[in-house]
């Protein structure tokens, strides 16, 4: 909960967070080391200095630290666990649905637990998806198209088995499909960050919502174009938000474009914890206003209403959360007493 000087309360849902184990003991190979090394550089590069961690803490920080950072210090009321399996890089996976569910059990009203599937698992993948719905009643999945699996170095949403999985999601009511476009390696001669497959599946599956993590960056133009064509495409602001600190002007330009092309109703705040700590992002975002020239050019303003939508209301709508009722539930839970 963020409280403005005027006493107004904003309910905050962090749309993308992780509890990973990337410690050397869990790494399988140089790719596991390279993956967390890359995240750590993101973390060091864009965080204010007082929020920069030691590498060993960043590799494995544990559930208590996460709960304190995010819910106690970080203003966040609820967070969406977005699993990233990476079993070719980490023995037990980077963070799986099953692992995340342990913390969800301890704080049931704080977390939205998302699942994941991999089209390359074929029939077994469909069964796994069904078991996730039965066991955890998930209503969303996070898909990482750049994940390696044996000889395969990535996949597309339009692959036949991916389409089968999306069909299954639609049948089972798993409505929120978070798509993370990492650098997909197959086929290697194509642009690795391309988002055009989103366009096709968004048309084919009108009942599903496609939340594109980091708004398709570094391919913002493609994402904006697709999101204007498809009413069920949303933008996740992980990676975009932290630029508010080091590059406020770019942040303003990008957000103004997103609001103009995609709309303030379709953008979801996310910290990508533990890459970035939500506290400073929320503080800076609440204090942020567009420069005059941008406000004029795009005719958009970062009003309190817009901030409320981006920080929580949009995600609440997608996940069927009644904010007023949820506030009451949360007022009683274990985290509330730690605040």
């Amino acid at each position: 909960m963020f409280k403005t000087d005027a006493g107004e309360e904003l309910f905050i849902i962090d749309g993308h967070m992780h509890l990973w184990d990337a410690s050397p003991a869990n790494q399988v190979n140089k790719y596991g080391a390279g993956f967390i090394g890359c995240f750590y550089d993101y973390h060091r590069n864009l965080s204010p200095p007082e929020y920069v961690w030691e590498a060993s803490l960043f590799q494995k920080y544990g559930p208590e630290r996460m709960v304190k950072d995010v819910f106690v210090d970080g203003y966040v009321d609820m967070g969406i666990f977005q699993p990233t399996y990476l079993k070719d890089f980490y023995k037990n996976g980077f963070n799986t649905t099953e692992q995340n569910s342990a913390l969800k059990q301890r704080h049931p009203d704080r977390f939205i637990l998302n699942g994941s599937w991999d089209p390359r698992d074929g029939e077994a993948g469909l069964d796994y998806l069904e078991s996730l719905v039965q066991r955890y009643r998930i209503s969303g999945v996070k898909l990482y198209t750049a994940e390696w699996k044996g000889n395969s170095k990535g996949w597309k949403l339009t692959d036949p088995w991916a389409m089968r999985h999306l069909e299954k999601c639609q049948q089972l009511g798993v409505k929120n499909i978070h798509v993370h476009k990492g650098p997909t390696i197959w086929p290697l001669n194509k642009d690795a960050f391309e988002v055009h497959d989103v366009d096709e599946v968004a048309t084919s599956f009108p009942e599903l919502n496609f939340i594109i993590e980091h708004c398709g960056l570094p391919r913002l133009e493609d994402f904006c174009w697709i999101a204007t064509q498809e009413r069920n495409v949303y933008g996740g602001l992980a990676v975009v938000m932290p630029f508010i600190h080091s590059r406020p002007r770019y942040f303003a330009e990008v957000l103004a474009n997103l609001m103009w092309w995609v709309g303030a109703d379709k953008l979801l705040f996310a910290s990508d914890y533990a890459i970035w700590h939500p506290r400073w992002i929320v503080d800076k975002f609440m204090a942020f206003e567009f420069p005059e020239d941008i406000r004029k050019e795009f005719g958009v303003a970062l009003t309190l209403d817009v901030k409320k939508k981006i920080l929580g209301e949009n995600a609440a709508r997608l996940y069927g959360i009644d904010i007023n009722r949820q506030k009451k539930e949360l007022a009683q839970d274990a985290v509330a007493s730690m605040r």
Binding site: C38, D41, N45, L188, L217, C224, R247, Y250, N257
Partner: protein, 251 residues
């Protein structure tokens, strides 16, 4: 002397995504010259930087340095990259992309290269259009500018760098041959109709933002990964180069 010649050639190699020279980006590490053999070490902002662009840069380094008449052999060494050995092995043996990655690639990189030259074109054009608009130019006047008028546009400092960069990419695309042709056209040379001007600019802005956002992210990550030391500047002969003014502009 030879070292400066090598750096001069390296300054002609661009990162295709960021549309800036490797020497400016700090991607060039140690350069060794041993008789007629040149070894160029280069490094990228992350372990996971796209392998296709990395291959293009490695191949371009080899090609450009090989243009020097005294050079007999070029050894390119991409460091700290997930496909480093594969890329170095392929490029140093003169393999094409498909030959280097027979199992992962379905074609060579020409289509990808063109896609990103178009993005570079749009981004360079948008920056120049924006600076003209900021000076109070009207759309009709802008669309009336001819190729031959570009060098004489009343811009200074950073604006001059924008003109030079735009003119260079017009030339590269074969769109600068006729001095009386319109200067502001689409990447394939078709004219921009007055009614499409604003929409064209808005779309190009997204492209430019992607390039800049990426560029800012990559520069920051490179610094985080390798520290402040900027080896590429050693012996660099591009002092006073318009890229400098341009870099100030986008930073």
């Amino acid at each position: 002397m030879r070292r400066e010649e090598v750096y001069g050639q390296l300054a002609k190699v661009n990162d295709p995504e960021l549309d800036q020279p490797l020497t400016e980006l700090g991607f060039i590490g140690d350069v060794g010259i041993d008789g007629n053999t040149v070894t160029v070490h280069f490094r990228l902002p992350t372990f996971w930087c796209a392998a296709n662009f990395a291959f293009m840069m490695a191949a371009d380094i080899r090609e450009r340095v090989s243009e020097l008449p005294w050079v007999e052999r070029v050894d390119v060494q991409l460091q700290d990259h997930f496909f480093g050995p594969e890329i170095n092995g392929g490029v140093n043996c003169g393999k094409t992309f498909v030959e280097a990655f027979p199992l992962l690639a379905t074609d060579d990189l020409e289509e990808l290269r063109e896609t990103f030259r178009v993005k570079a074109f749009l981004a360079r054009q948008e920056r120049l259009l924006r600076s003209l608009l900021a000076m109070g130019w009207l759309e009709d006047a802008i669309l009336g500018v001819r190729v031959g008028d570009l060098p004489g546009l009343p811009l200074s400092g950073e604006g001059t760098a924008l003109v030079e960069r735009y003119l260079a990419i017009l030339k590269e695309r074969g769109l600068a041959g006729d001095a009386t042709a319109p200067a502001f056209v689409r990447p394939d040379g078709r004219p921009i109709e007055p009614l499409e001007f604003r929409a064209t600019l808005a779309r190009a802005q997204c492209t430019r933002l992607s390039v800049e956002f990426n560029s800012a992210f990559c520069r920051g990550l490179l610094k985080t990964r390798y520290g402040e030391g900027d080896q590429a500047m050693l012996g660099s002969s591009d002092r006073g180069h318009p890229e400098r003014a341009f870099r100030r502009l986008v930073e």
